[in-house]
Point group: C2
Chain length 377, copies 2
């Protein structure tokens, strides 16, 4: 039994890797663990595997539920399941929590095997390249020589692009949603404010909060408020919240008092996030975002980078996404066209901002589904 339209009940799997991992930063991990989920069945030719790469706050739980009573399905259940864009009747879908994450894979909140203490701030900085390398090791273990598709939105889209550029013979189709070839100064600045919010929280304790049974919840909450706000569009926020107030007439104005609906909403989002996410992971993930630059190894030429890809490419941007604007996606598309590569591009008209890739916008869903149906397995 399962919820209608969802994959069967899901059980996460832990994959333990004992090989030493040489990270892009120059540091090493003496082995690591990945927590993963799969949906659908790998075919006999092992040709129908699809990799889902998660974004900043995502994890391995992309679709389905662990228990029928779970109130919510995985974070991308709208697009991963039987008959959905990433159709689990056709595809064997692999999803994982990246290293440095906080949902089970090796990361700041797991134990450092050398000290048997939580890694905390001593977990090494990771990069998109490191994530893709570990994803390739996971593919090896699962017997997947080449992915039918690698798919991701936002920071996940950057991983998909890195796959296409650095492992061209292992990716037959690549989907980059609401992504960018690298961050702008403004993007970096928003990430930096989020980091400073965490670093300024006295409960951060130089990153050793877990050891001290503390949590920099205020900083993490602020970081999330900043992030979440930038994932919405101004028009979308006006439509949703306007200037509606929550309690009291609008002239009862004392500092800190909850007045506008949008304030209440953001505080709630921040607070929820601060109970489920790890502050050190937030620092690592935003740094990985900042440092990603798909053209860095190609003389800063995006078309030189795209020239080495051999995947069929789908790039989708969202009109009101001002964090990773359509202009950034068009840079990718222009570089792919300049390199003579097969690319489809769509700019979806929506007020949903950057978060639109997580939602069921009709044109987006239709286009994404149709494109995925043409993925040869």
């Amino acid at each position: 039994m399962t919820h209608p339209g969802e994959v069967s009940l899901v059980t996460p799997v832990r994959e333990v890797f004992s090989a030493t991992l040489n990270l892009a930063s120059g540091r090493t991990l003496a082995g690591f663990e990945l927590i993963t989920e799969t949906y659908g069945h790998l075919n006999a030719q092992r040709s129908n595997a699809v990799l889902i790469c998660h974004a900043l706050s995502g994890n391995h739980h992309a679709a389905g539920r662990y228990d029928l009573s779970d109130p919510k399905a995985g974070w991308w259940d709208l697009h991963v399941g039987p008959g959905k864009a990433v159709d689990t009747n056709r595809f064997f879908v692999v999803s994982l929590n990246n290293i440095g994450g906080c949902d089970g894979s090796s990361g700041p909140n797991t134990l450092n095997p050398e000290t048997q203490q939580p890694w905390g701030p001593e977990f090494p900085q990771v990069s998109v390249a490191d994530w893709v390398m570990t994803q390739a090791m996971l593919a090896d273990r699962l017997g997947i020589d080449s992915w039918a598709a690698v798919i991701g939105g936002s920071l996940g889209g950057m991983q998909a692009l890195h796959w296409a550029v650095h492992y061209p013979d292992r990716v037959r189709n690549c989907v980059a949603l609401a992504a960018a070839p690298k961050l702008t100064a403004q993007n970096i600045a928003f990430n930096e404010i989020a980091r400073q919010a965490i670093l300024s929280d006295p409960d951060w304790l130089a990153g050793h909060y877990q050891r001290e049974a503390a949590n920099p919840a205020r900083g993490l909450s602020l970081a999330r408020m900043v992030g979440h706000l930038t994932y919405m569009s101004a028009d979308g926020m006006s439509d949703r919240f306007g200037r509606d107030t929550r309690e009291g007439p609008s002239n009862t104005i004392n500092p800190g008092e909850m007045v506008f609906q949008v304030e209440s909403y953001l505080r709630y989002q921040g607070k929820q996030f601060s109970t489920r996410f790890d502050a050190n992971t937030y620092l690592l993930m935003t740094r990985a975002l900042d440092h990603f630059d798909i053209a860095a190894d190609f003389n800063d030429s995006l078309s030189e980078a795209m020239a080495v890809t051999s995947s069929r490419m789908l790039v989708i941007a969202f009109s009101s996404d001002w964090r990773f604007s359509p202009a950034r996606s068009r840079e990718l598309v222009d570089a792919l066209l300049a390199a003579g590569k097969p690319v489809s591009y769509a700019e979806i008209e929506t007020d949903a901002g950057h978060d639109a890739f997580l939602l069921d916008e009709p044109h987006y869903t239709g286009l994404f589904s149709a494109w995925m149906q043409r993925v040869v397995i």
Copy 2:
């Protein structure tokens, strides 16, 4: 002696008002003080007075220096002085620190006369209406029946609009730069994040930090970083900072380490601000911004509000200002036109974002100057 192009050396003046002030919030102040500056000379007819209204972080020191050795002139010296847009050879210019401010006028960091302790968080919430009322009391004292012009940018522009709507017979010309009839949900959300940054700082001490000789510098710094970032444009930031790094190669990535120039810049701005500004004032000022709505007393009809004005109006917006976008200025202009009022509007092409009104953008300066030259005195 003075710096070339600047007003003569300036001396701030303290104006003490003993009348009880009934604030829009319903609370009262048993008297208050305003710190003011004036530039130029009031003519015999008292017809050449111009009022400058400051924005969130501004104060009374709009032009000139206190001492020849001051490293910087007032915050709007580019536009206030002999031969400048606000020409002190023609106009008698009045500038003040609004109540609730932190630069000398009655506010959270001044003494509550009843307790002889700093007001701190007990200073009443103030509004744009309160500020304009106190500015009108200042005009009375100075013998100014009607202003040749009331001028402001951002939150200052809102004060200028309030003057034009609520004191139409006392304003002959009104200039609203980078302003808006009211904030959007997104604007309120940015203000709320700034407030939460302050309120989350353990040194905020429920607002009584001054009494305890503390300062919520981390929160205030974060608040400023958020604000400052939103006053710049994405393109402007890309041109200015790009992805330039400050120290170490970009792969030496440890959390909190300074890497990108834009991070270093924002941290510096935040830190500087936290040493000069008062956190309780920041809370009050952002709340005043959030609650401003020029149409609120006019059945939420902007054109009904504009219909009661009798000033010649100048509205200027800046193309890359996404905090108070040109669309918000056009709402004002459309309402003024609908009401049959004389309005000039310009949208200045610039990458400087919201802060452009503080800068010397050639088209802006030229247009503003030409319009001010046609102000009849």
